[in-house]
Amino acid sequence: MRSIAIMCAVLVTAMLTGCPSSANRQQVAQAVDNISIILVGFENAEVAAHDAKLIPDDDHTFIQHSMLTLGQAGKAADVCIKNSATPQGDVSCIDTVVTTVDQINATGGTYLKSAKAKSDFQIAMSSVKTVLVSIEAVLGQTSVQVAGR
C-alpha cells in the first residue's frame, strides 16, 4: 500500500509538471481529479490489505470513516470550484479540503493502533495534501497559514 501511495504521488507530480501551459483553473480541476485518483487507489489498497489481515478491524473502520469524509469533501470541492469564478475562490475551496485532510490526519495519528495502518494512512494523506498545496502555489494565492502547514 505504501508503494501505491508513493507511486501515485510520483505520477501526480509528473502530470502536474507535464502541463505547465494549462490554464490555472484547469490545473485546479485537474488537481482535484488527481486527489480523487489517489483516494480510489488508497481505498482499494486498504480494503485489500484488510482482507489480507494486514490491517486490524478497528483501524480499518476508522480509515473507512475517513475515506467517506474525504470523498464527501471532494464532492463538495467539486461543487465549490464549479461555482467559483476566481482563483481566490478556488483557493478557498481547496483550503476547506486541506483543513479536512489535516484534521483527519491528526486524528488518525492518535487513533490508529497498527504501525502499518498509521504509516500508510499518513502517506496517503500527505500525498493528497501535497497536491492541494502545490496547486495553491501554482495559483500564487498560497496564504501564510497554508504555507506554514
Binding site: 501526480v12 502530470m15 481505498e43 485489500a48 480499518h60 475515506m67 467517506l68
Partner: protein, 59 residues
C-alpha cells in the same frame, strides 16, 4: 509481501496509471479537457470511494 496481495495491488494500480498517462498525453497534445469534464470525472471517483467506504462500513 504476499504475492496474491501484490498482484491485487498491481491490478488496481494499472488502471490508475493508464488514467494519469492519458491525462499527460492530453496535456502535452494541447487537448486539455474542459473544467466541467475534469470535475465530473473526479466526481465519479469520489462517488466510487464513498460507495466503497459505505459498503465496508455497512456490509
Amino acid at each position: 509481501m504476499d504475492p496474491i496481495v501484490l498482484a491485487n495491488l498491481l491490478a488496481q494500480l494499472l488502471p490508475l496509471g493508464i488514467q494519469v498517462y492519458t491525462q499527460i498525453q492530453q496535456a502535452n497534445s494541447g487537448t486539455v479537457k474542459p473544467i466541467e469534464e475534469i470535475l465530473a470525472n473526479a466526481d465519479v471517483n469520489f462517488d466510487s470511494v464513498i460507495a466503497a467506504a459505505q459498503k465496508q462500513l455497512n456490509p
